[in-house]
């Protein structure tokens, strides 16, 4: 049977892979892909927590049946909605920056972008 721990561990594994990719890769776009992997891992974790954990309103009142208490079950899904929104904005901007850099410098290699080092 699949439990909360299964989902959380899967999220941790994908996050670790994404972290490795984001730190080691020299191609700007592959770094972005690593960041996207981390976003997705976090989304899996918050949605799984929303499904398996008791929200505070139901912890304090185990008999609560009103809409205000019951709807807090889906708080994790709301977080995932905002993560997806921010990820979409981030990708649009980041890829714009990558292409702008490529137009002026003819490279998408992180190690060749040393504008800010002495």
């Amino acid at each position: 049977m699949i439990t909360l721990e299964h989902f959380l561990t899967l999220g941790a594994v994908i996050f670790a892979i994404g972290l490795y990719g984001a730190v080691t890769k020299r191609n700007l776009i592959v770094v972005l892909m690593g960041i996207e992997l981390m976003f997705n891992a976090v989304n899996i974790v918050v949605v799984a927590m929303s499904k398996y954990l008791v929200p505070l309103a139901l912890q304090q009142a185990p008999g609560a049946t009103d809409d205000a208490a019951v709807q807090t079950l889906l708080t994790g899904q709301v977080f995932a909605v905002f993560v997806i929104t921010v990820a979409a904005a981030e990708v649009a901007l980041a890829l714009g920056i990558v292409i702008a850099i490529y137009q002026t410098r003819r490279t998408a290699d992180m190690s060749e972008l040393k504008l800010m080092s002495r």
Partner: protein, 181 residues
């Protein structure tokens, strides 16, 4: 809430393990493949696996949003960026930080796995809810989309509006970046 019959079935477990294995393999391919375009396609594979996971977690709206935004828009954007900046001979090289990064990721994974397995999670399945509350819980997860919509436009109305400003700023920013030349 006791888990429904579907979640205790063997089919659910088998599908979960297959999807989990596919997503981990695809994620590994993203960071290991030399060809950036193939890495982008592996990334699309991860997105699709996450869609299935969202369906398995009763998050239908999120699953569809994930498919449209990640599987559609973001993957197309990334593939276009790959095609526009392609260095065929360079591919996707790693920098000198491979060993420290591997140690960092493994350390993170070890800490996360330790925390996950040693925390006393307050699970819904042993929360001593009354029968009426359990019924309401099943109702919310059985039909999560209207509940999520209600939560978004009532409790989280302000972040929801701020998110639209953020998206507008991102659109204007991306346009301003690329039309300078």
């Amino acid at each position: 809430m006791t888990p429904s019959g579907l979640e205790q079935s063997t089919a659910y477990t088998v599908v979960w393990w297959v999807v989990a294995a596919m997503s981990v393999i695809a994620a590994t391919l993203v960071v290991r493949l030399k060809d950036v375009l193939r890495a982008a396609l592996a990334l699309v594979g991860v997105f699709i696996c996450v869609v299935v996971l969202f369906f398995m977690l009763n998050a239908e709206l999120l699953a569809v949003a994930q498919l449209l935004i990640y599987g559609g828009a973001i993957s197309i954007l990334i593939i276009f960026a790959v095609l526009l900046t392609r260095d065929v001979q360079e591919g996707s090289p790693s920098n000198a930080l491979q060993i420290p990064a591997l140690a960092l990721s493994a350390g993170f994974l070890a800490v996360a796995a330790f925390v996950v397995n040693n925390t006393e999670w307050r699970l819904l399945s042993n929360a001593n809810l009354t029968a009426a509350a359990q019924e309401r819980t099943a109702e919310v997860f059985g039909n999560s989309t209207p509940w999520l919509a209600g939560l978004l436009v009532r409790e989280y109305a302000l972040p929801f509006e701020v998110a639209s400003v953020l998206l507008l700023a991102a659109v204007i920013g991306a346009l301003a970046l690329l039309r300078e030349r």
